[in-house]
């Protein structure tokens, strides 16, 4: 493990230097909450944030993204790929996990060139957690409280300093460019860090829990459970849960024309499986007309389909969906009820 150390006082200068070569996206305060936002003033960056309204997925997979430009003259379309150099700064382990899960989806048999180009041009600077950041976190249950890959640099808070885990060559390069801001790590620093990681991080107790054992089978066994109707009746089909989810990635594709009606673009926008017409086919047949079926579908996809395809659920326990739901639907409560506890 390659470690370095940076004092908290040097972070604004480090950010400033990063800004010279990258668009830097970091948590900032937004009307009493926090949001990942491109920043130009290092003083606005709030590394003491609990969680952000939206996860950082929007910088790899934007809410609306142009896929190609076209002319209506029979010519081929022209692909539009964003290759902005970007740093995602201060991501908690859950959000780093969220991005790794998105990688599985957007790579695979048909690699998505839009996502891949953004990801390849993104440097990820993590920020370690040593306890729940707020009452909604249940990452400990999801195995996403810790992360051992998916970042270039990890900042770990130690008093007035951050211990810095340099994970990749890309991470090493930016640190070397600002080597005057970093210091070597002493044997004592390493001891304190490992003691803290064991004592604080590993012994932290999370109040909010989700029992993920046999979750795929649990969903099979409870397919007809009245719990789905109970929560489905409350659901407003607003889609807030999926917009704030680090691992919801459903999209819709739309063509748009300019005023001449001759040139246009094809774009994708975030979509949500809770919307009433999500599974509606041509001719009007809707495979999931009622809300309970759609709500169940969302969890089948995230906690069963992903276990089947990738070996783990597409949930990182960030708790954003619980916080965002206007109907106070809490997935930890749904799963506890399904399990009968």
């Amino acid at each position: 493990m390659i470690l370095a150390k940076i004092s908290k006082g040097n972070i604004p200068e480090f950010l400033k230097r990063l800004m010279a070569s990258y668009e830097v996206v970091a948590p900032v305060e937004k009307e009493g909450k926090f949001a990942f936002s491109p920043v130009s003033d290092p003083a606005k960056v709030r590394l003491d944030y609990d969680t952000t309204i939206l996860p950082p997925k929007q910088f790899l997979y934007p809410p609306e993204e142009k896929l190609m430009e076209f002319k209506r003259d029979g010519s081929a379309g022209k692909e539009t790929i964003d290759t902005t150099k970007r740093v995602l700064f201060g991501l908690h382990p859950c959000d780093i996990w969220g991005i790794q899960i998105l990688d599985w989806v957007f790579d695979g048999k048909f690699p998505d060139p839009y996502y891949r180009a953004r990801k390849d041009n993104t440097l990820i600077v993590g920020l370690n957690c040593t306890s729940p950041r707020n009452e909604y976190c249940f990452c400990q249950s999801m195995g996403t409280y810790t992360v051992d890959k998916g970042y270039d640099i990890m900042l770990m808070e130690e008093g007035d300093n951050y211990m810095v885990h340099i994970k990749t060559d890309a991470g090493n390069q930016v640190i070397r460019k600002s080597s005057d801001l970093f210091t070597e790590v002493s044997a004592e620093d390493t001891n304190i860090l490992s003691k803290d990681l064991v004592d604080k991080k590993m012994k932290a107790k999370f109040k909010r829990k989700l029992d993920t054992r046999n979750i795929s089978e649990l969903l099979d066994f409870t397919y007809g459970s009245p719990v789905w109707k109970e929560f489905g009746d409350r659901c407003l089909s607003c889609g807030a849960c999926s917009y704030v989810c680090p691992d919801c990635y459903c999209f819709n594709v739309k063509d748009k024309l300019d005023l001449s009606l001759q040139n246009g673009e094809r774009a994708r926008t975030w979509d949500c499986c809770l919307y009433i017409d999500f599974a509606r086919c041509a001719g009007g047949h809707n495979f999931r007309k009622d809300k309970a079926t759609r709500l169940k579908m969302r969890f089948f996809h995230k906690e069963k389909s992903f276990v089947d395809d990738y070996g783990r659920p597409a949930c990182v326990g960030c708790g954003r969906c619980i916080k965002a739901c206007p109907a106070k639907i809490d997935l930890t409560e749904i799963f506890a009820k399904l399990r009968g506890v």
Partner: protein
């Protein structure tokens, strides 16, 4: 073409033939503009493509031609929405975009040497015609073939100019029914399952079913009653395969993507998807 760098970019293709089928359905033949793509494009019966018109949109269509006949692909298109409405106004020579082919097709290798029962209802005829003509072109590779077709009315028949060819093909039986006949209709009247008492289905047959959502349950019941084992039954399911490449999630059933795990599913796999049929 089969593995492009950007799977979202369509290849341009021209409409080369339009065959009227019914008042709201036409079969369109397309040829790729790029001669290399035109030459190398191939697919399995039962696969689908994403067809788009720039400025209007994109949608999935089952391929109704067979890969044994090269140089073009044909799609049956019913006028039911924005894109299909626009395509129905298009003429020979007009340009569209096509990408694919996508999904799992019918298991032609498994069907080789076997008796095959094909049950097609309505627009389910589109992908099954690909399989039927594939079998016709490789007739000696397959055993007895029984084709059961059902349509709403005598006006709704699809590919009826090919019925005689199928009827007269060796070792082939072709049965047709319409839900509701008219004064000129002399054939069988009633839903597709009313054809079963008119023929004998060997329990050794492999069955392929494609039709409207409501049809599967009733047809499967008939097959099971005739001792066709579940693993010999294949269904092709229709969902909104918007991206075709396992990402947008509109076509997810239970925990599978129709676009990559299907659209042709073995009946056992379909049974495991609790909302599939």
């Amino acid at each position: 073409m089969n593995a492009p760098a950007n799977p979202y970019m369509p290849q341009m293709a021209k409409i080369t033939k339009i065959r009227e089928q019914t008042s709201d359905t036409k079969a369109f033949e397309f040829q790729f503009v790029d001669p290399k793509v035109k030459e190398t494009f191939t697919y399995e019966p039962g696969q689908f493509v994403e067809l788009s018109v720039f400025g209007i949109g994109e949608a999935p269509f089952g391929i109704s031609s067979t890969p044994t006949r090269k140089g073009f692909i044909e799609l049956g298109i019913r006028n039911v929405g924005n894109l299909t409405n626009f395509i129905h106004q298009m003429k020979v020579g007009d340009t569209v975009g096509i990408r694919g082919p996508y999904g799992k097709g019918f298991p032609v290798e498994t069907l080789k040497g076997k008796d095959v029962l094909i049950v097609a209802g309505g627009t389910g005829m589109f992908p099954t015609r690909s399989l039927i003509n594939y079998i016709m072109d490789k007739r000696k590779d397959f055993g007895h073939v029984k084709i059961l077709c059902g349509f709403r009315s005598p006006q709704e028949l699809l590919f009826k100019d090919e019925f005689d060819t199928w009827k007269n093909a060796p070792n082939t039986e072709f049965l047709l029914s319409v839900d509701k006949g008219d004064e000129t209709w002399k054939g069988n009247t009633g839903v597709i399952t009313t054809l079963f008492p008119k023929t004998t289905v060997s329990p050794e047959s492999y069955a392929v079913i494609v039709g409207p959502p409501v049809m599967y349950r009733f047809v499967v019941k008939e097959l099971l009653a005739r001792n066709i084992q579940k693993h010999r039954i294949y269904v092709s399911l229709e969902r909104k395969m918007q991206c075709g490449i396992g990402k947008c999630s509109h076509c997810v059933i239970g925990y599978k993507y129709t676009c990559i795990h299907g659209p042709v599913f073995n009946y056992w796999d379909a049974l495991d998807l609790q909302e599939a049929i």
